[in-house]
């Protein structure tokens, strides 16, 4: 981390950038938050550790409007989102100095809580310099340990790899933490009966409180004005009930990002209700791969997205019925 801070100070000092977009410590040991730093002094609060899950690429939309360059810290998976935003002219590549930061998997404090680890005071073993094998947690009830991988975010178990897709320089080492099949969860649902599927999503989506956290964090959901806030579709600001409204919201949200979603998993990470929202996006990704060939949004900043493309021989919609 210190290397990162030092480099940031250098870049500020030599005028390459006028601000740094990174993370600072939050109120609790496990919730660092995204922050701008404009001076060497401020950078003393800079934090980068296993809890810095937030994808900073979306912040670059606003940062692109500001004067001068911004140094932005992007993890390997974040760079996909950044590429996608370049493709959509939402960020200005010239306004960004991208430091590809190392990543050995990001953590989910809820996983610790699920293990019964409560009253957390501090956590060690999640620094960039660490091997990231074991976490040591100081709690009100004494010291606890757990395997790093057991506390990882879901998305890190299906890691897209340790390579940065776009960067100006790389600081720190990365690790491919993939230890699960990306589409296993989706396949499990696909294998269910319609009744089971319906019950599953009914149960999950009825938890939605329409706080819009998923939408606000999603790098693909970057519309100036969301259709769900627009008068043009008569969909604005509906009260939540456990019926169709939420399904419609989440289906349409997933549809709008289909072919653009990089599967960064931020939506599930931030959902206060713990709804596995990535299951929608990943279903679209799986279908797109099966129907139209493998496609990874953000792997570059030029390729046509699958929904703005076609071939004469595309499958017919009836394939949905036929393949069952």
């Amino acid at each position: 981390m210190q290397e990162l801070v030092n480099r940031a100070k250098e870049l500020l000092a030599d005028g390459t950038v006028v601000r740094v977009l990174g993370w600072k410590a939050g109120d609790l040991p496990y919730n660092p938050e995204p922050a701008y730093f404009t001076s060497a002094e401020e950078l003393d609060n800079f934090v980068y550790n296993g809890f810095c899950g937030a994808n900073l690429s979306k912040y670059m939309i606003e940062a692109s409007k500001l004067e001068g360059k911004t140094m932005v810290c992007l993890k390997p998976c974040d760079t996909y989102s950044f590429n996608q935003l370049i493709k959509e002219h939402r960020v200005d590549r010239d306004k960004a100095y991208i430091v590809g930061v190392g990543c050995k998997g990001k953590l989910n404090v809820d996983k610790l809580k699920e293990m019964g680890i409560k009253g957390i005071q501090s956590i060690s073993g999640a620094e960039m310099s660490d091997a990231c094998d074991t976490l040591t947690i100081q709690t009100l009830y004494g010291e606890k340990t757990c395997a790093y991988a057991d506390a990882m975010l879901e998305r890190c178990h299906v890691c897209k790899g340790k390579e940065h897709m776009i960067y100006d320089e790389i600081i720190g080492e990365s690790k491919d933490t993939k230890d699960a099949e990306r589409f296993a969860e989706v396949e499990k649902i696909e294998a269910m009966s319609p009744e089971e599927k319906f019950a599953f999503f009914q149960k999950e989506l009825s938890k939605c409180i329409r706080c819009n956290a998923c939408r606000n964090v999603c790098p693909a959901c970057s519309c100036r004005k969301c259709v769900f806030d627009s008068t043009k579709f008569d969909t604005a600001q509906k009260a939540n009930v456990d019926s169709f409204e939420e399904k419609m919201f989440h289906i349409i949200r997933a549809f709008h990002v289909a072919g653009r979603c990089t599967d960064c998993g931020e939506c599930s990470r931030v959902c206060p209700q713990g709804i596995p929202l990535h299951l929608f996006n990943r279903k679209f990704i799986k279908d797109i791969n099966e129907f139209y060939g493998e496609f990874q949004a953000g792997a570059d900043s030029e390729a046509r997205g699958p929904l703005t493309n076609f071939t004469f021989e595309d499958c017919e919609p009836s394939i949905v019925t036929e393949r069952r």
Partner: protein, 145 residues
């Protein structure tokens, strides 16, 4: 006490102006009957059909939604139906995924000359919706009369 009423499905058909709407006109002028449950909405091209329209129809109590367009390759706007085909494939797959009976949605390519196909397609589709019964999974109760 409620009286069991005969199920009359609500079916929305989106038809592109150039082929399918004309096909429906031909079915009409050829007097090829299909159930009155089908109501047609004219759109310029199948690529004008937003998934939102379909979900909204279900939300408001439609029991089936069918989209008809020109045959691939014959789109009046050259390529519209190719995009529509991808969109609808993904949407239908998603609906299937969340447990909506597949069969409530359908895409059929009907040319301006295929009045017979239009009529048989609608007959088949209405029959299918009859076999599936009322749409309860997607309906928004607040929208019910």
């Amino acid at each position: 006490m409620s009286i069991e009423k005969e199920f009359r499905p609500k079916i929305v058909a989106f038809c592109c102006n150039w082929c399918s709407y004309a096909g429906a006109d031909l079915a009409g002028s050829s007097r090829l009957a299909y159930p009155a449950d089908v109501k047609i909405i004219r759109v310029p091209c199948s690529c004008r059909v937003n998934p939102m329209f379909i979900l909204r129809a279900f939300q408001k109590g439609a029991d089936g939604v069918i989209m008809c367009g020109c045959h691939p390759g014959d789109c009046h706007y050259s390529t519209g139906n190719y995009y529509a085909r991808r969109r609808m494939t993904l949407l239908f797959s998603m609906l299937d995924y969340i447990g909506v009976e597949n069969g409530r949605t359908r895409v059929e390519w009907v040319s301006a000359a295929e009045g017979v196909k239009f009529s048989t397609t609608m007959n088949e589709f209405v029959e299918k919706i009859h076999s599936l019964g009322e749409n309860v999974r997607l309906e928004d109760l607040r929208c019910k009369n």
